[in-house]
Structure formats: C-alpha cells, structure tokens
Symmetry: C2
Subunit: 109 residues, 2 copies
DNA sequence: GGGCTGTATCCGTATAGACGCATACACTGA
DNA sequence: TCAGTGTATGCGTCTATACGGATACAGCCC
C-alpha cells in the first residue's frame, strides 16, 4: 500500500466530489441507479445530446463512479458504487433543510 | 411549501455539491469539524492566506454548510451541519476503494 | 468486406471559479 | 474618537470545464 501524501489524498478527495458536482451528472447517476443503460438511451431519456452524455460519462468513469460493459452494438453504463446515491440523497437532504431554515427566517421577519 | 421545479432542485443539488468540491474547502470543513475557529486562526492552521480562507468560507456559508457568530473582535465559523462530514468520509471511502481496485488490476497485469 | 448503428473525440467558444495582492470595511476597547 | 485587529472585497489574471456541432472511430451483422 503506497504512502499517499496528505495533499494528494485531499486532491483526489476533491476530484471525486467534483465529478458529482454537476447537474447533468447528478441526473445521469440517478438514472443509472434506476437502471443501467447505454449512452444513446440515456441521452434520449434525459433529453440531452449524445456527445454531452458521453462526455459526462467519461468524467464519471474516470472516478470509477460508473462502469461499462459491452452488450451487442452498444456500451452499457452502470453504477460503479451504489453508495454514491446515499451521498447524493444526504446532500440533497442537507440542502433542503438549510433552505427550509432560510425560508423560515425570511417569513419570520 | 413552494413547488420547487425539478430542474431548479437539481441545480441547487449541484450547487451544494460544488461547494464541497474543492480541496481547500474540504480541509476547512474538516478543520471546523474538529473545532470552531475564526478566520485568521483557520488561515494560520491551514497555512493559507487569509483572503483565500475568507472567500472559501463565503462559499460554504452561502450553502449554509458553515455558520458564524461574532465573538469579541473576530468571527467564529462553525459547521452548519455535522452530516457534511459523513458525506465527505463516505466519498473518501468510495474513492479509496475504487483506487484500490484499480491498483489491483494494474498489479494483476 | 461494407454498411450501419452506436460511441467517442476534435474544434472553437463561453463561462465560471480560484488566486495573489492590495485595500476597504467593521468592530472593539481604551 | 481613534488606533488597532480582524475580516471581507475589488481587480486583473489564469486555468478548468461545459457546450454545440461536426466528425472520426468501433464493433456488429449480413
């Protein structure tokens, strides 16, 4: 096991966070959590151009958040780690509760 | 409760993820989890220029990930939601395990 | 092998974010 | 009120990333 310098660990940590920090990639991850799909199906389902989907999938794959398998003529993408959905759900919950607190403050004034 | 359009929810979801997707902000969050601190102490502890820390804190505050209280002459920043640390830990774990799998694959070849 | 479907990449462009440094601002305490 | 500490912001620059559209590439199937 290589001795990972702290700075580098921190950098990698930020990298994987960054992969998740895009609206379209979030949509893609939730879609894949529902069901593995190939690129063009994903593109149709999310109403995005195919090259856009392909590029986002590359980012996710670089972080191993998705994996691929070939199936006939197409490439099926699937979730690399289900826990990423837990992360996303928790983030959303944190965000919604913060939003709610803010709204309360506003209406209290 | 306002009817939040899906697109907007998705956008907000990405925003909070993005706030976490920076190495220095990750360091700041972990530091604050340890102990609430004021800006300049944080700057010294993390060996970062004070304006840099201040700007990162603003980003985190905009997402309610940190809160502030004034204490004498300085502004103490504290974690807004402890769960953000769970998220960070889980992300790191996901990342490390993916890294491990990749390393195995390389050494197997 | 050639056509066809499905996927990835190239190009130029536009935007967003991070930084260093200097400086403005805010608040405290005497 | 004024000095002094502590915090935030303005500015210019640099880099990274997302995009549309066109196109290259890959693998399957007849």
């Amino acid at each position: 096991m290589a001795a990972l310098p702290l700075d580098e660990l921190n950098e990698l940590h930020a990298n994987i966070c960054q992969a998740v920090a895009d609206p379209k990639r979030i949509l893609i991850l939730y879609a894949l959590a529902e069901e593995a799909r190939n690129v063009s199906t994903l593109a149709v389902d999310l109403m995005l151009p195919q090259p856009t989907v392909s590029r986002h999938l590359r980012v996710l794959r670089q972080q191993s958040l998705v994996g691929t398998r070939r199936e006939g003529p197409s490439v099926i993408y699937y979730l690399g780690d289900e826990r990423i959905i837990e992360v996303l759900d928790l983030m959303q919950q944190i965000m919604l509760e913060a939003l709610e607190r803010q709204t309360e403050l506003l209406s209290a004034a």
